[in-house]
């Protein structure tokens, strides 16, 4: 363990060096030892799968993203609800009220999405 002022910064230098070495090492080793076979199949999108149809640039329906966000609402709810339900009888009424408030806020999020017509698939 190096001492002194610069010794302490040596840790940083060591860390940075290791980081660079790791990246350069793995990439370099890969380049060195991997066999290179140039065949047409190599250049397909899915090398050992179905042949791709159409171009690589396609748009995803933005609604999937909104549904993903809505899923998080229920997901978070579940994460808190289950542990709470397990020890429910040991907690007082305060915990019950707090959970009602929590669910209320989440429900507000759902109501917001509903009102903004996210739930309708056009």
């Amino acid at each position: 363990m190096p001492k002194g002022y610069f010794g302490e910064y040596l840790t940083l230098a060591f860390f940075a060096g290791m980081m660079l070495l790791l990246v350069a090492g793995t990439l370099g080793l890969n380049k060195l030892v991997s066999p290179k076979v140039h065949r047409d199949e190599k250049y397909l999108t899915y090398e050992c799968g179905v042949d791709p149809v159409g171009g690589g640039w396609s748009q995803t329906q933005i609604r999937y993203y909104l549904f993903g966000l809505l899923f998080v609402v229920f997901d978070v709810e579940a994460v808190f609800l289950f542990p709470w339900a397990v020890v429910f009888d040991k907690l007082g009424t305060a915990a019950f009220v707090e959970m009602v408030i929590f669910i209320g806020i989440l429900a507000l999020g759902l109501a917001y999405a509903w009102r903004k017509k996210v739930l309708e698939w056009l």
């Binding site: 302490e8 840790t11 860390f15 109501a111």
Partner: protein, 482 residues
């Protein structure tokens, strides 16, 4: 676990206000959305009242020591609320004129404010992290609120990418600290770091990562690249909010971690912080010299200001004592003063931008066309430059004194040189306003009432604190944190 509801009352009030704002947004028809603004204003005012009720109380600790309400927390929370009120007043007319969605704007602004309130009370790595994210995530959306404007999109995307990168780096540092100390409580970390000198090298590494993570949030060099583009692209009131409230929140988190948890390692990070502070102010001030857009000029100037605020950290003493206390108070006092001069400058930019424009060339002859606006802009710019008897001068004096007390004379010299450079570009705008002929811009600029209020409040604060600097110094020194 017993919760001290009185301690979290301001946050509870704000959360309630948030929900009401969201519901009001849902039920109002599109042409009446402007009504959400008074509702939000009332919500923040209520939060402010709840805060004032807490002022002067003895320190309250709740949520297992994570959440502490002391004079430091209350002072900064009041500052955040005032900044939010000024932003609300500034944005009302701006949003209507630019046709920006109003409902979500106010809701997101209040969300961000909630994060700022909680970060001032957080004495634990976890709530600091969660609060910082609560500050940032709504701000990404706020920056990109002008959906059809490419620059606004760019602003949001740059802000988002840089911010999540910095968060990842910061989290890595925090996980290292938790790994070696086994706790996330700031005071406890300090104790355990002192007790385990063997792991010092890992501690140094984690301090480095945490500083880098916060460096992005407070726009310290070399992590400031997103700032000018984000400020320029986002709606101007949002830029004001980012440069004042969001930056202050970053500083609050950083100052707490450095002063409470890491001061034992100050020997290691002091020179690093000194270098970052000097580079930040020099870079900000030098690049600001070449700017032609007023918001970009203010953005670079705010980078320069971040350097000044960071400077007292470079004199922190390992053993604590009065030097630390003064350094901490100097940074806090600067933050308190900086908020008003920056808010003022931005609100004049918004006021003039409605009819004139946002380029510095547009400001030619403003002293003839709208003398009142030109005079207050001069006050804010000269205050930012640190000219007596304005508040910015007092702020710089506090920093200067703290650095001298810490016997770091070369830092004081570097700061003085930077102040001179900064004066140059602030004075350039002033010269353009008063000593250049007016172009074909409008004669007499109409300023909406709310914007007038914002400008008036900022002007009064800048002048008042300039004449009575003890107002800010006293508030900052009350803090018992260090």
């Amino acid at each position: 676990m017993q919760i001290d509801y009185a301690a979290v009352a301001p946050e509870l009030v704000l959360t309630g206000a948030l929900c009401i704002v969201l519901v009001v947004d849902l039920v109002l028809p599109d042409n009446r959305k402007g009504l959400i603004m008074p509702v939000s204003l009332l919500g923040v005012a209520g939060t402010l009242l709840a805060l004032l009720a807490l002022a002067g109380d003895p320190t309250r600790t709740t949520l297992g020591g994570m959440f502490v309400v002391d004079s430091f927390a209350v002072t900064l929370k009041i500052l955040f609320c005032v900044a939010a009120l000024l932003t609300l007043a500034m944005s009302y007319d701006y949003l209507r004129k630019e046709g920006i969605h109003q409902g979500e704007f106010y809701f997101l602004l209040l969300c961000s404010l909630l994060g700022m309130l909680t970060i001032a009370s957080s004495r634990d790595l976890l709530p600091i992290f969660v609060s910082l994210e609560l500050v940032s995530v709504p701000a990404f959306v706020l920056a990109g609120l002008q959906k059809i404007d490419v620059k606004s999109n760019e602003a949001a995307l740059k802000f988002f990418l840089f911010s999540i990168l910095s968060t990842a780096v910061m989290l890595f540092g925090m996980s290292l600290i938790y790994g070696i100390t086994g706790t996330t409580n700031l005071a406890e970390i300090a104790v355990r770091l002192a007790a385990t000198p063997v792991l010092r090298s890992i501690a140094v590494l984690s301090v480095f990562f945490v500083v880098v993570g916060f460096g992005f949030k407070i726009s310290a060099f070399p992590f400031q690249w997103w700032v000018p583009d984000t400020y320029e692209g986002s709606p101007v009131p949002v830029a004001a909010f980012l440069s004042v409230a969001s930056k202050t929140a970053g500083f609050v988190g950083l100052l707490q971690i450095m002063f409470i948890a890491f001061h034992g390692l100050a020997d290691v990070w002091r020179p690093f912080i000194a270098a970052v502070a000097i580079l930040t102010m020099t870079f900000g001030n030098l690049v600001a010299l070449t700017q032609r857009h007023i918001v970009r000029l203010l953005a670079y100037s705010s980078i320069g200001q971040a350097g000044y605020i960071l400077l007292p950290l470079a004199v922190v003493n390992v053993n604590g004592g009065s030097v630390n206390h003064e350094a901490f108070a100097a940074s806090i006092a600067y933050l308190l003063i900086y908020a008003f001069m920056e808010m003022g400058a931005f609100s004049v930019a918004v006021a003039y931008g409605r009819e004139g424009g946002y380029f510095i060339d547009d400001y030619a002859g403003l002293g003839y066309r709208a003398p009142g606006l030109a005079v207050v802009m001069t006050v804010f710019l000269f205050s930012l430059a640190g000219i007596p008897p304005l508040a910015g001068w007092a702020a710089k004096l506090f920093i200067f004194r703290a650095v001298i007390d810490g016997h770091e004379y070369w830092l004081a010299v570097a700061m003085a040189v930077n102040t001179v450079i900064a004066l140059f570009y602030y004075a350039k705008v002033v010269r353009r306003m008063f000593f250049e002929p007016a172009g074909d811009g409008p004669l007499g600029v109409k300023v909406p009432l709310l914007l007038q209020a914002t400008i008036a409040v900022s002007t009064v604060m800048v002048l008042l604190v300039g004449i009575l600097p003890d107002l800010a110094a006293h508030l900052a020194r009350m803090s018992t944190l260090v």
